[in-house]
């Protein structure tokens, strides 16, 4: 790493003891983004190891351009698939309603300046945590209490560990513990929709047209989204959403169901859809939760980001990506913050991020309804809408955190050529 300028350590707040709760996309990205700004942080994660089974994500240009600056894009690319096209299909006969190029003609990169990657979530975590270094990561630490003191915050963990911090960032997801402390309430709302998901070898999907595309199959009260992941697109990740149950009764967000339930929920759909769900044989239902709009993302020395602050439906594929945007924005603002007066930085972070994330949150909700229309007259208007997706949703993908920071007059440019690795 290049030598720090004299005095920069103080200016950039490197004296701050920063604790990040959660080693998901948000927590790991924030720790790396802080390092880029000359600050260090400790990340506390409740899981005892960083593995997540059966879950992939799509990383879009708005997030990848940040990782690219840290020199991580090639590592991620090596474990990713770039889809050939984005295709919308009819649930029953599989006809192509609309198709837009992605890898084809290099369209997406040319338009948005960075690629779109289908990748296993565990591979992203592995890449980010390796770049961060294990010594910054504290696993098996489940937060149970936050105690505010006059000039610090005490974090108490279930394993008995007690840590003092000057600044705490809750990056602990849609069911956030830190958010409960910030707002005093449980602001997670069940959306009335749930999902079955799985990862299936592409070779087990003989009925699937365009297995290397990202595709939405749209039908009455349900849809299925899939895209390929891995270095050679050898596996297909799917996410099948239904408009049930009306009410979520379970304490957690995942429940087991009878073996036949996932496939039975898509009875009468195109064989490619039922074949995929059947091949995954994963009888687990994921409740889809969002976070009710919050007026304040911070309290005292504690701030929340990502799903904890604005958990959204995943139908624009932006939960992880907006979380990563948050992380890089917050890091830039914290680097300018006065250690004994964090509130202006928190307020500016919220001001910069609340409208954008609310727009995507709202738009994902509208999209959910659009993807689940019954056969009938409304379908024609939907078909016109999905034909316009690249134009209508370009604003999501073209966003550039660093540009937004500059536009807000908020922070200096990210240091050029900063190394991600210690």
């Amino acid at each position: 790493m290049p030598e720090q300028q004299p005095g920069l350590a103080d200016l950039s707040g490197t004296g701050l003891r920063v604790a990040i709760v959660g080693a998901g996309m948000g927590g790991l990205s924030l720790a790396l983004a802080l390092r880029e700004r000359g600050m260090s942080a400790r990340v506390f994660e409740q899981a005892s190891e960083l593995t997540e089974i059966g879950a992939a994500i799509g990383l879009s240009a708005n997030a990848i351009r940040e990782f690219a600056r840290l020199g991580l894009a090639d590592d991620l690319a090596a474990m990713s698939t770039i889809p050939t096209e984005l295709i919308y299909r009819d649930w029953r006969d599989g006809s192509r309603i609309a198709a837009h190029p992605v890898r084809k003609d290099d369209w997406y990169v040319k338009r948005f300046g960075a690629p779109w990657f289908g990748i296993h979530r565990a591979d992203v975590q592995k890449t980010l945590s390796a770049a961060l270094g294990a010594e910054h990561l504290h696993l098996g630490c489940r937060l149970v209490n936050i105690v505010e003191q006059p000039d610090s915050v005490v974090l108490e963990f279930a394993n008995g560990r007690v840590e003092h911090a000057d600044l705490v960032v809750g990056a602990d997801g849609v069911r956030s513990t830190v958010r409960r402390w910030v707002t005093g309430a449980d602001d997670a709302i069940y959306s009335g929709t749930s999902a079955f998901r799985g990862i299936v070898p592409a070779e087990n999907l003989p009925s699937l047209p365009d297995p290397q595309a990202i595709q939405f199959w749209m039908g009455p009260d349900a849809h299925l989204l899939h895209y390929a992941i891995g270095p050679d697109g050898e596996a297909v990740n799917f996410f099948a959403v239904v408009d049930t149950p009306r009410i979520w009764m379970d304490e957690g967000s995942v429940v087991g169901v009878a073996d036949e339930v996932p496939v039975a929920s898509f009875r009468g759909w195109h064989p490619a859809v039922t074949e995929m769900i059947k091949a995954a044989s994963s009888p687990i239902r994921w409740g889809l939760f969002t976070v009710r709009p919050l007026l304040r993302w911070y309290r005292g020395r504690v701030v929340i980001l990502g799903d904890a602050a604005h958990g959204m439906l995943p139908h624009h594929g932006q939960g992880a990506n907006t979380t990563i945007e948050d992380a890089f924005a917050l890091a830039a603002l914290l680097a300018e913050a006065k250690p004994d007066d964090l509130e202006p930085a928190f307020a500016q972070f919220q001001k910069m991020r609340r409208a954008r994330t609310r727009k995507i949150q709202r738009s994902s909700w509208v999209t959910s309804n659009l993807l689940h229309l019954p056969d009938g007259p409304a379908v024609r208007a939907r078909d016109e809408k999905v034909a316009r997706v690249p134009e209508d949703f370009a604003w999501i993908h073209e966003y550039d955190v660093q540009q937004a920071l500059r536009a807000a007059g908020a922070a200096p440019a990210a240091p050029a050529g900063a190394a991600a690795r210690a």
């Binding site: 919050l294 001001k351 609310r358 909700w365």
Partner: protein, 84 residues
């Protein structure tokens, strides 16, 4: 909160967020028809109005707003509940 205060606040928000001419903002002005505000820009207006007036406007509520007067009435009602 008296109506003219809320109207003045909303007028400023609409100017800041969407570049709307203050002269165009009346309680009868429709967001789509008269002020040229699409649904996504309306979200920005809602968020800025929330910050300005210190309240959260639920999605189910603001998605029914048609005119500036609808927002004003909503904020006034919320103000009465908050400070009876």
């Amino acid at each position: 909160m008296p109506q003219d205060t809320v109207l003045a606040g909303l007028t400023q928000v609409l100017g800041d967020v969407a570049g709307v001419d203050p002269a165009d903002v009346t309680p009868e002005a429709g967001f789509g028809n008269d002020l040229g505000i699409d649904s996504l820009t309306l979200v920005e207006v809602v968020v800025a109005a929330e910050d300005r007036f210190g309240l959260v406007i639920a999605d189910d509520d603001w998605s029914r707003f048609v005119t500036a007067g609808d927002v004003i009435a909503y904020i006034e009602r919320a103000g009465m509940i908050a400070s009876p």
